[in-house]
Symmetry: C2
Subunit: 489 residues, 2 copies
């Protein structure tokens, strides 16, 4: 690493989230925006090591719940892409088209860089699914997708024209089984996103006007970011027969009747979740990462004094050897850098645990441990270091979760008028309110709230019954839903 | 799985390799060629589970040898792609171009679907590499690449227009260090390809006319396939300053002098290696896979007799429970399929070990084990099953290796005239011969051999000195190299 050039973050997260995030990404060397195509960025080493771990965790969770992997081509023929009407309307403006190859040879048919892969999967499901015995049919693929979004600014990991995800496409005999899958997707999300990636979130059933193109119902996890805005993380969709009918995906039931499948899809974007994770946990010193996801979990920094370099270094290496049976450990014995510089550097990189050992520690049988979850330093006895480290490691990710957790409840306020909504959104709150309808009839009211407050109606809490009373503050008609309004990324 | 429809392979590998391979891929459900774009196929579950394991093994090997992961965009701006002259000449005819987005909006600059990523990496290396302290700079990425090859037929995994690989791009201060990396790449290939994937191979230094576009030297692993043809597997390239100069990738040495880096690249294509692996080990019954790579390692088939279903099934589940601590185990208790049908099915799928248990076995305390490496069946005592299984599992992959290993030495013959070369290639041999030159001067002779015999000059054995004597049988000039000629995929 050419660390000479690295600089600390100067922006404050609380004051200017946007600038702070930009500096974090640049200075911790997570992504590089200088690739040369607008909206496309390079993911750098420190980010990619973590994202690869995240991919493996998510893939393992899918494997354990009866999904199997397939790999579709990255390109989709134009004709597939026009079969489901809402879907094409939703994605057509964002498609990158391959039109020619080699020495300017025009293709007979344009090929889409997939913006999502329903239209690739379903043409194959028509061939692969035959009998009720094939169901449920649960498949996923890992890959990148491409969306030429116009309006929105690129922010590395949060939003870009290519992102890296897993998409799962499942087929069932009945709506009930399909909806059970939606619940399982939410459960997987909780197990992975909350427990492993330390991201508290709430699933909302999206209103009619904010559904996935082609979906009957969309359920999406919103995480509350430090700035009071929410970020949409994985979403799962019940598609009814909206795809199985146009793509003719049928099965013979046990009486020999041909029926269309009910289908669902689930799409955790690992690159976007990584963005949420670093934005949520990091602070003005730099990155903070769940212990399991950090490329280096423990850094040992020897404090050199003249003539004592070797004995200190020997101890550090010996300690590292012990700890490596459990953790990924780096001994930063580089010359030409002060201990203070190294401390800042590894705090910027979010290494969870730092151990500092100098000649005086060797005499006293002590070592200093600095932990990034609490940002505090304490002296420990060398004898009990492995146990102390184990204790800290055990608490570490739970501490990140609990620090992030205050979020929703604390930041949610109720409102009953448009003015109250405006005021609360202005204070970066999430607003709970009664609303006329999350169906098509509510579209106009929603637009009114959005324009007035800058907040978006995220939907009703998924699979939670809440008491509705009173009138919709938008149109004064009787309310039929309890919804949440928030600013979003 | 809708196994009702599955059919056995009818073609014989020894008689019609091409048809046999096609049937293997279709009937074991490894890939589907019905995707709808010529040259693009879908990888199905059974193949992808194995390929994901292969990716993890290869990535771990790269991580352990000091490489770090990055992710570049899939698209490369046209201007990057024209900077290195040989490179553009080599790849330009095969590039898929993105020219427009959304509602027919023409892009200002065409974007290439990467055929390989040198031109993406080097523009970033110019920014990232500054000082000799940054070197060696070793990075890799996992992804797919796209080549609109015209002339060659698609064969799933072996050859197609999109394939899935890892590409590593490394930069060094000196040629010597760069060449050490080439040797390390060959070592990684041996450790992974030979020991873990059971594929014997030989590294050749490719002749001048068969180098990677832009390379100074190309070293490629050729595996001998069942049919007498060789298949090129991972290759590693010393690029000299051919990329660092046009892309201006420089470092300041320890005296403050700016110098261009020496670079290398290494590109193991996992999808192609998978093709080699299944073609090499499989037989007329179906797939054979190294134990570690098989999606299911042990299948237990209960033999039902009326009234004894439950007791047999209970024993099978209990045995599976024990074995699952070490292996991936599937108990095939499906009704409506005969034991014989199940045996064939799992042999087609290449499950390494099958355990058959019926009521008579329960009385006798026995079980039958059928192993796919030796294609033989034997009765074992239930008491010692875990130890017996462990012993078989230990030998299994080694047996596949040794069966494949006879290859090169046995199939290599020497030749001294064009006629002898023709005859030997006609008998599916690899031909060793003296040759005028693997430099540009040999191009014409090589074309003569290719046209006359159908064999290609694969090059000299890499890092092996062989005694050269006599004249080149092509041009009768004094020979300067010992080369190997073979038919190839």
């Amino acid at each position: 690493m050419s660390d000479d050039k690295k600089q600390a973050i100067t922006a404050k997260k609380a004051e200017d989230f946007s600038e702070w995030y930009t500096q974090l990404v640049e200075r911790a060397e997570l992504a590089d925006i200088r690739y040369g195509i607008k909206g496309f960025v390079v993911y750098r080493e420190w980010a990619q090591i973590t994202m690869e771990k995240m991919f493996r965790i998510m893939i393992d969770a899918l494997d354990m719940t009866g999904h199997m992997p397939v790999v579709m081509p990255t390109l989709i023929p134009e004709k597939n892409f026009t079969i489901e009407a809402d879907h094409v309307e939703g994605f057509a403006p964002e498609v990158f088209w391959v039109t020619e190859t080699g020495a300017d040879k025009k293709l007979e048919e344009r090929l889409a860089l997939r913006p999502t892969s329903e239209t690739a999967f379903y043409q194959m499901y028509k061939l692969w699914i035959q009998s009720y015995r094939d169901l449920p049919y649960k498949r996923y693929q890992r890959g990148s997708v491409f969306r030429a979004e116009k309006s929105k600014a690129t922010r590395p990991f949060f939003r870009g024209k290519e992102f890296h995800w897993i998409e799962s496409h499942n087929a069932f005999a009945t709506e009930e089984e399909a909806m059970k899958q939606v619940e399982q997707d939410m459960h997987i999300t909780h197990e992975v996103l909350y427990k492993r990636f330390a991201i508290p979130h709430i699933f909302f059933k999206r209103p009619h006007w904010d559904k996935f193109p082609g979906a009957v119902h969309t359920f999406a996890a919103d995480a509350l970011m430090g700035s009071g805005k929410v970020l949409q993380l994985p979403s799962t969709h019940y598609l009814g027969k909206n795809f199985s009918e146009p793509f003719d995906v049928t099965y013979l039931d046990n009486e020999g009747q041909s029926k269309h499948c009910h289908t669902t899809c689930y799409g955790p974007s690992i690159s976007r979740i990584y963005g949420a994770l670093i934005a949520l946990h990091s602070d003005d010193k730099g990155l903070r990462l769940p212990l399991e996801l950090s490329p280096v979990q423990i850094v040992i920094v020897p404090i050199f004094r003249e003539g004592k370099e070797k004995v200190v270094m020997d101890y550090c290496n010996q300690l590292a050897g012990k700890l490596r049976t459990m953790y990924s450990v780096y001994v930063d014995g580089r010359e030409g850098y002060s201990p203070g510089w190294k401390f800042n550097q590894w705090e910027l990189k979010g290494v969870p645990i730092r151990i500092e050992v100098g000649p005086r520690d060797l005499e006293q049988g002590t070592a200093v441990i600095a932990r990034r979850d609490l940002n505090e330093k304490k002296e420990y006895l060398q004898n009990s270091l492995p146990q102390d480290i184990a204790k800290i490691a055990n608490e570490y990710t739970a501490n990140l979760i609990s620090q992030a957790e205050s979020s929703f409840e604390q930041n949610t306020v109720s409102a009953h008028t448009l003015e109250e909504v405006k005021a609360a959104i202005g204070q970066d709150k999430i607003v709970k309110m009664c609303f006329c309808s999350t169906g098509p009839q509510g579209t106009e009211c929603a637009a009114k709230f959005e324009e007035a407050s800058g907040g978006f109606i995220r939907g009703e809490k998924a699979f939670v019954e809440e008491e509705v009373q009173g009138l919709c503050p938008g149109c004064n008609k009787p309310a039929k839903a309890v919804v949440y309004v928030a600013k979003s990324y």
